[in-house]
Symmetry: C2
Subunit: 708 residues, 2 copies
Amino acid sequence: MVTLRKQYAVARPVYSEDSFAEDHGKVYRLRKTTLDHMREYLTCDSKRAKNAALSFLPIIGWMKIYRVREWLLGDVVSGISTGLVAIMQGLAFSLLASLPPSYGLYTAFFPMLTYFFLGTSRHISIGSFPVLSLMVGAVVTRLVPDGGPPANITGFEGLTQDQQRVLVASSVTFLMGIFQLAMGVLQVGFIVVYLSDTLVSGFTTAAAVHILVSQLKFVLGLTVPGISGPLSVIYTLEKIFVQITSTNICDLVMSIVIMVVVFIVKELNDKYKAKLPVPIPIEVVMTVIACGVSYGFNFETRFDVEVVGEMVSGYESPIAPNMDVFQESAVEAFPVAIVGFAVAFSVAKVYSIKHDYTIDGNQELIAFGVSNIFGASFRSFAASTALSRTAVQESSGGKTQIAGLISAMMAMIVTLALGFLLEPLPRSVLGALVIVNLKGMLMQFREIPYLWRRDKPECVVWVGTCLGATLLGLDLGLAVGLGVELLTVVFRTQFPRCSVLANIPGTDLYKDRKDYMHIFEPNGVKIFRIPSPIFFANIEFFRDKLIEAVGFNPLRVLRKRNKALRKIKKLLQKKDDVTESCMKMEELDHPSDLKELPFQVDWRAELPLNVNVPRVDLHSLILDFSAVSFLDISAMKGLKTALKEFIRVDVDVYIVSCDACILEKLHSCMFFDYEIVTSMFFPTLHDAMLHVLDKDKSQGCVLAASKL
Amino acid sequence: MVTLRKQYAVARPVYSEDSFAEDHGKVYRLRKTTLDHMREYLTCDSKRAKNAALSFLPIIGWMKIYRVREWLLGDVVSGISTGLVAIMQGLAFSLLASLPPSYGLYTAFFPMLTYFFLGTSRHISIGSFPVLSLMVGAVVTRLVPDGGPPANITGFEGLTQDQQRVLVASSVTFLMGIFQLAMGVLQVGFIVVYLSDTLVSGFTTAAAVHILVSQLKFVLGLTVPGISGPLSVIYTLEKIFVQITSTNICDLVMSIVIMVVVFIVKELNDKYKAKLPVPIPIEVVMTVIACGVSYGFNFETRFDVEVVGEMVSGYESPIAPNMDVFQESAVEAFPVAIVGFAVAFSVAKVYSIKHDYTIDGNQELIAFGVSNIFGASFRSFAASTALSRTAVQESSGGKTQIAGLISAMMAMIVTLALGFLLEPLPRSVLGALVIVNLKGMLMQFREIPYLWRRDKPECVVWVGTCLGATLLGLDLGLAVGLGVELLTVVFRTQFPRCSVLANIPGTDLYKDRKDYMHIFEPNGVKIFRIPSPIFFANIEFFRDKLIEAVGFNPLRVLRKRNKALRKIKKLLQKKDDVTESCMKMEELDHPSDLKELPFQVDWRAELPLNVNVPRVDLHSLILDFSAVSFLDISAMKGLKTALKEFIRVDVDVYIVSCDACILEKLHSCMFFDYEIVTSMFFPTLHDAMLHVLDKDKSQGCVLAASKL
């Protein structure tokens, strides 16, 4: 039995783009102008107004479909579990921000109150996020350093160091909120797409290194001033190692015990995830034990262990942000705003896909903006979400932000009534818990060999971002990473692999001639494939590659021909007074003027009169534009020059598979003139090739056309 | 008479990429690894060594072919004309650098001495360039301000203000030379391609504004301290307008007269270019007249006109650069190095094309690096080339850098012997000459409407660079411009115009279905064209567009189907104990498991049992990858997810016209598994379509395949 292969059979006229459009009734659509888009965007009717109002208060949407019997229990259980984690993390992360621990509880409470109404995600847990806390902490320690006087800021007078720090943190948070709100209002939420997975991975790994280094002092029980700015990691490590001998053994032992226990239990939780009804809340357990032990044995006085200390009971009156701090920290607040939003949005997106509802990036920006402004007024610091806390909220059954609200209430209860219970908790315990949770982030180092094998530019982005953020600080490092990332996009399109194509005999297909054993290349025809967009940074590269591919420089050939023509004319006219030196160089670049000659010059034949002009064996050049997805003005100019140079040495140039939009743009930018004509465009390579072979045959040349 | 249309006739089997490669003997080439490239690059043999030596001393190349009789006269004449211009510009541009005028003459002399041996361009005139002078001047006035004490720099003690300024300028120049030399040695000369024409145009226009503002004080005869940093243009203008009433009328009148005369004569020069043997050297003439008048009428004492004043006669001993200045100005010296090289290289390229010789970017970097280091040691400031001076050198007959050497000698003669003649020259004359020469640069403002009409992103780059450089200063502005420019490249590929293609009846061609009147779209088949590379910033955009194009979200359909399946299974097994809430959400995303069912489920038919699942009318999705010039890892992950989602709802996905390199990369990155198979790749749209129609027919569906 023979399997009959399906047949591909086509019989149609050879088309150029022009004849094709004519034969098949091309519709010339009117494209919308910028003005039309603006007008459409600004049009307002009652429906749009209603939608806008609804989208501004997403709570209306999910409250309408709230299934009390099915969801409420889950929300309550989840709220309580999340609340415990939020309290722990609030205390721990406030150390990263160089603030007294009670302010972490504020951060777990205030921002949630507004996010509840404005947020579109139903699952993320609003509150502190270690990377953000660290970034805020960098500003705090810069403006209010541990040793030495604070920065010269109006409003610092009469405040204790902690109060100054709270003022700085809340002002930075306020400013970050303004940035987020502004971005939301301007609808530029899409900018987070520039934070690619690779960049975020490198960045968070660097953040983990920063966090690890900043927590070492607590774990070792040392007093190290917070250092910010470039190379702060190295300076901090230096300061720690200088006084490593003064390590507080009690802190160290306690930390190690806690880290080991938490690490093991977490691994077990992971391993028996399917069997356990809920994961063991080992961190809460260890905190409670540590609190008890520390209180019972009076660690604070007996072993000189630094404890959480007095918790502010209740809430303080709202404060206005400080304008001087705004000025000092504007450059740093912007990356904080971006990172805070990017993290929250990416986590929210994961859960929105999982639970099949939509989230709106711009509304999220508005929600976070308002929440941070509101929170900052009540002295909380930068809020976003933490992946681990959100995972707890979702996995323990949270369906909506009611869970979030309940977790905020838990934080409130601790602030108002139970704070004193946490007072004997050693800070080293908090540090140890932060460190043990860095495992996942630090494990991202394993991506380096993975990326290197698969995609070198991405590996460069990862390493660049991570090194930049580790050494220069998180804000500058983010900028460096973004720059490297954008450069890789440019790079990928800048030095692509050009190729010369050839026909595969018996088909209408054209492939790289190096890739196939049996190929057919008609004499005098070259097919050059441009495998990427053409723009300012690669147009020269393509021209060089094209000259390399055809084997001659058309401009040089044209000049030699024109010089030869002059010589011929001179000989004909017997005028010897015209010396070569007074000829204008510029005229050599013009098309050869054959009119005044009494005979036909055939540049391909042997030339008489000892005239030496390089022979050009090429009569047709076909450029495959199928991968050219855009052309900019510089590229258009360069392309025009290159095409003209070839046309002037009598090479017919054809462009095939050009995108319809690009063709339109070429028309609108006056690309065409008497030399470059629209009839050079063909829909497929094979159409152009058939056209070339036909034309060439009619000129009487002997070509292996019959092979096709 | 009927013109017979050429026929396109093809009959061949339908190919998938796999079967095509098999039938036609694809060659699997071994790509060079990074290591191979390194090895090749580092290989050394005697020929390469000789070439390297020769390319390091380009003078050997052109000295060998020097035609003394034909070229020497031209070089001498050109050298003298250029020398006059170089002296004038040297004096004038040293004012831009806030240095005493005699140092401009140094800049016209020392750098040329080394460029003569090392440079590959035979036509550019080495010396001061207004934009560079201004950039150096910004550092000079920042570190040694007019009013107030100089920066705290070791080495400033015991020096006059002018000496301090010369030290700063020469140190910056030295550092700039080091940067250029380093870039040349590292072979990164290609980075100038990022300075596109549009960016350079916007940047030089901003520079012209800076120059104009900085020269106003000389023209008005006012004493305004040099201001640097962001918004310096505005502050300087403010300071000028505050004291506008103290304008020196003599200076103003003289400047206006000179500007008007020079402007008119230059226009005439342009108009009668063809008729004049040489352009009228109006600037030299006006300078000589101004010198004479100022000396004769004793302007300095009678009208309180600021004159050039004492010229340093002869040369001073070399100085070492100052390390403190290096530290203070490292960030500013880098853009100076880039701009200096970029300008010189672009001018050199124009003349190398015109006169048909090759220049080497990396060797030029080395030449400028060495020249600036050498020059800085002898107290000259940043050297590059000026377009106007180079035009004089070339148009007056200069053939090689011998002309440049002679022009340097002219500067030397003035420094050594004739400097005193220039002492009575009013500074306002120099300012007026600088301003009148800004015409060309300021005329570039006319590009704004031109660019806006043709290409909006380029217009944004122009305006962004120009505004940035005007307001923030040239160095920061350049960085802003570069950032905007790179973003436009990313932007162009980020939001492309996706389209759904359809067959044009009677052909094998597929076009945007909105573009043609008569199209054929088989039922259940969608052809989606991705018109740009896919990478981290647009993969989500494409997924959204794809979902929009097919009209359903495959993940949602899959979940509904899986829910329905559970319902069916439950009904079949009569087990009611499995409630919906304890079902794992994750399992809903897995492929539907139809094995355990006793009957066949046809999702396209009406479903029994009140099961409500959205109907999918699509059975085949064809993705046109012809314009996808690269894919990064994020895109690969996203693409894989998207493809799987479609495959799991029983949509066959085909990818056509995929670049061979991308296919290779997909293989090496483990893109394929049991769901995503290599047989989904087809060489052309028509092959895939024929395959789809054939497959569909064999399944017994009724399709309008016969129309094709």
